[in-house]
Structures are given as structure tokens and as C-alpha cells.
């Protein structure tokens, strides 16, 4: 965000953001989180609300390709930035290789943490297309799966990474 010339004092803040390639322009309250913006304002409910303390990873989205806990990230911070959610991964009806790998390997049980797992994995592969198993485990250590689908999650990511 560009620094304004002097102190500004406002409750309503301008937001111009590209979510999954689509531009949104408007004003939002300062305290609106990116999660609320995505789920309530845009109706994109693939991003899940869970711990609301930046621990579990269920609300992970990408801001400028970096993984972010949207529950604890103020939406105005995304001004002039691009946001990618699970809904934006598929290209023209073609699923992302990560989504296909998660399906093939059954990298989920109940599925609640899955969008966050996939978005975290996406961020990792954007930075490092061929991570080791250890690097995947370290990167995903902040994405909790209460069902314990970790072995299949890591296999899914390894499968895409090794291509």
C-alpha cells in the first residue's frame, strides 16, 4: 500500500482488490477481516473459518502469492493486491494439479481443512516447485487436519512436486 502524505483517520477504507482475477472496488470498515470479505461480501465459502487465531490454517488464502490467515488479516491490507482462494485455482473448468492429486490420493477425510491445505501447498509450490518431503512437512506444519489425513496430504503434494 502506498503511504499517504500525512496521517489519515478513517473508519471506512477504500479497497481495490483482485480476487481470483476479478476486480472488486469499494469501501469497507477498517475492522473487516479478509475472511469476512471473502465469505460474506463475495460469497466465496470455500475458505473456512475455524480457530480465528492463525493456528489451524483452514482460512488460508494467497495474497500476492504469499499464504495468509484470512481470519486474522484486515481486508484493507489487500488494497491494490491480488488474492487467490480455492475457488480461483481451477482454470476454465480444468482443476489445478493439486486438486486432482488430492482427489486421486484421497488427501482428505471430512474435507474441512482441505481448502487451506491446498492453498498452503499452492503457495509452497509457487516458491519452490520441487520441495523435499521435509520441506513440505515444515511448510504445512501450520495446517491442522483433525482427521489425521496427513500421509495422503503429503503424498498428494509430493506427486505434484515431482512432476
Amino acid at each position: 500500500m502506498e503511504a499517504p502524505l500525512g496521517p489519515t483517520d478513517s473508519h471506512s477504507l477504500q479497497l481495490c482488490v483482485h480476487v481470483n482475477g476479478k476486480r472488486w472496488d469499494g469501501f469497507i470498515p477498517a475492522e473487516e477481516t479478509l475472511l469476512e470479505f471473502i465469505r460474506i461480501r463475495l460469497g466465496l465459502t470455500g475458505t473456512k473459518r475455524s480457530c480465528e487465531s492463525q493456528v489451524c490454517g483452514a482460512c488460508t488464502v494467497l495474497v500476492e502469492d504469499q499464504p495468509v490467515s484470512s481470519c486474522n488479516y484486515l481486508a484493507f491490507e489487500a488494497h491494490n493486491k491480488s488474492v487467490l482462494t480455492i475457488e480461483g485455482l481451477a482454470k476454465g473448468g480444468q482443476l489445478d494439479p493439486l486438486q486432482e492429486a488430492f482427489m486421486r490420493n484421497v488427501g482428505a477425510q471430512c474435507g474441512f481443512c482441505t481448502p487451506g491445505q491446498i492453498m498452503s501447498a499452492k503457495a509452497l509450490l509457487l516458491q519452490n516447485p520441487s520441495p523435499t518431503r521435509e520441506e513440505i512437512a515444515e511448510w504445512l506444519s501450520g495446517n491442522i487436519c483433525r482427521c489425521g489425513a496427513y500421509p495422503a496430504i503429503i503424498e498428494s503434494i509430493q506427486e505434484v512436486a515431482s512432476r
Binding site: A3, L13, A30, E31, S141
Partner: protein
Amino acid sequence: MLPAFKVLNTSSITDAVHELARLGDQVRVYGGGTELLILLRHNLVRTEYLLNIKTIDELSRIGWASDRVVIGAAVTHRRLETDTTIRETLPMLAHAESQVANIRVRGQGTIGGNLCFNDPHSDPATALLIYDAEARIHGPGGERQIPLQEFLVGMYTTALNSDELLVSIHVPRLPVGFGSSYLRIHRLQRPTLGVAAAARCQNGEIEEVRFAVGCIGPKALRLAELESKIRGATLNDSKKIIKETKPYLRSVLEPIDDLLGSAEYKLYLAVILLERALDDAVNDIERNPNGSSPGANR
């Protein structure tokens, strides 16, 4: 939902300090927000205004002031983990930063926020104490610079006055010949215990040593008494001294029982990790025979 607040974007330290003085208890400094937003959500903190300091360029810089690395208060953990200057000159700090919480918290949370919140479970504070880091603070009366150990007053408490802003951390490199280590025990993403050590050897003796322990009591602490006992001892004798140090650790660290473990358990672990960290720091000297200070020509 978070309670309503307004955001003040400032572009200079002078403006920020002016706003802090003007608004008093109606304003909170907002850096990464990783801790503050959670406190607001749970009504543990109430505020009219967030003072956004990320819009002040100077606070996001990593630079040099003579032979010290200057880390702006709004620099994120992730940058400290990955920045070339930090990895080359303060490798133990870079390693400790790589252990903080998870990748999302590291990308958003700032070093200044971590130190100002002074959660006892802080990896960076423990690591920075080893380097004899100092905190530079701006207030209405000008600026002051104090040792980090003085800045960290107690659990969630610092030496910062409400009209003051932590601007940067000044970190001297370890002297030539030192090796260093940071070890921790953690359950999920919060450390139960963090131990940092640095040492220099001569003729089979520990010539110089520094220890810091964090997470088990109200604040991270340097262990001056243990350091002076070990100075001049062999590595084997040092380990014996560490094994007998539990009563001292109990009195200075004030360990507490919490969800991460009992005070007894943490003391038990502290003794073991101090021993291992010293070993590791000594091995680090051999790994980096020129010391932890490459780039001495800088």
C-alpha cells in the same frame, strides 16, 4: 467480528509519536497484527484507533549502523528468516526466526510486535539476548536506546511508555571465533522452552560463553552467573556445572506451570538443552572456523 476501530496511516516516526501522545489510551500500535487482532477479537484490548506503522518506510528496513545490524521494528519474522544479511551475520537469529509459529504468522508478524507484546513464549527475544541487542525507542522527548534485557520487563510488559514507539533493534555481531546455537522444545506451534548459546574456545577451554533461556518463566533471560562459572572450564567440566545448575535456574527463571508443561518438567528440559546448546555452539565454531561473522570486510 472485530469491534469497530479506525486506522491511522502514518508516514513518519515523528507523526507516529505525535499521534501516540495525542490519543493516549485510545490508540494501539498496529504492526503485523498477529497478536493484537486476537486480543481485540476477545475483548482483551479495546481501542478507538490502530496506528499503522507499516507505512513508515524506515521501520521496514534491515541495514547497518557502523558494525551493528539495524532491524526495523516492522520487519517480519519471515524476512529475518530469509534475508541474506541476517543469515550471514546473525545465523542463530535467522534460525530462531525460522521456528516462529507457522509460515503465515512469520509472513505477517513483526519483530517489533513480538518484542513489544513480550509474550514469554518468544523465540526471537531469547536469540537476540545472546547478541547483546539493544532497543531504540522514540518518544515525545526524543530517542533513547536501552539493552533488550532492560526492555523486556516481565510477562506482557516492556519498558516502553504509552507515548513511545519501538523503532528498531540494534544487533552487534558475535565477536570473531564464536559459535552459536538455538534449540527449542515445542508442542504444536508454541515453544515450551527455548535455549540460546554462544561460545568461543581456546586451548580446550570455554574462553567466552553466553546463555539465554526463554519461555519457561515471565521473560527471556541471560544467565550471567552460569556464564561466569563456565568461563575457563573445559567442555566436560562445563557440562558438569550445567547439570548442577538447577537451583540457580529455578531462582532466576521463575518457571511456571502451564498447558505447555509443569515448572519441574521445564527445568529438567532447560538443563538438558543448555548442555546440548553449548555442545552445538562449540561444534558451530568448527563448522565456521572464521566465526559467525563472515563479511568482516563490511
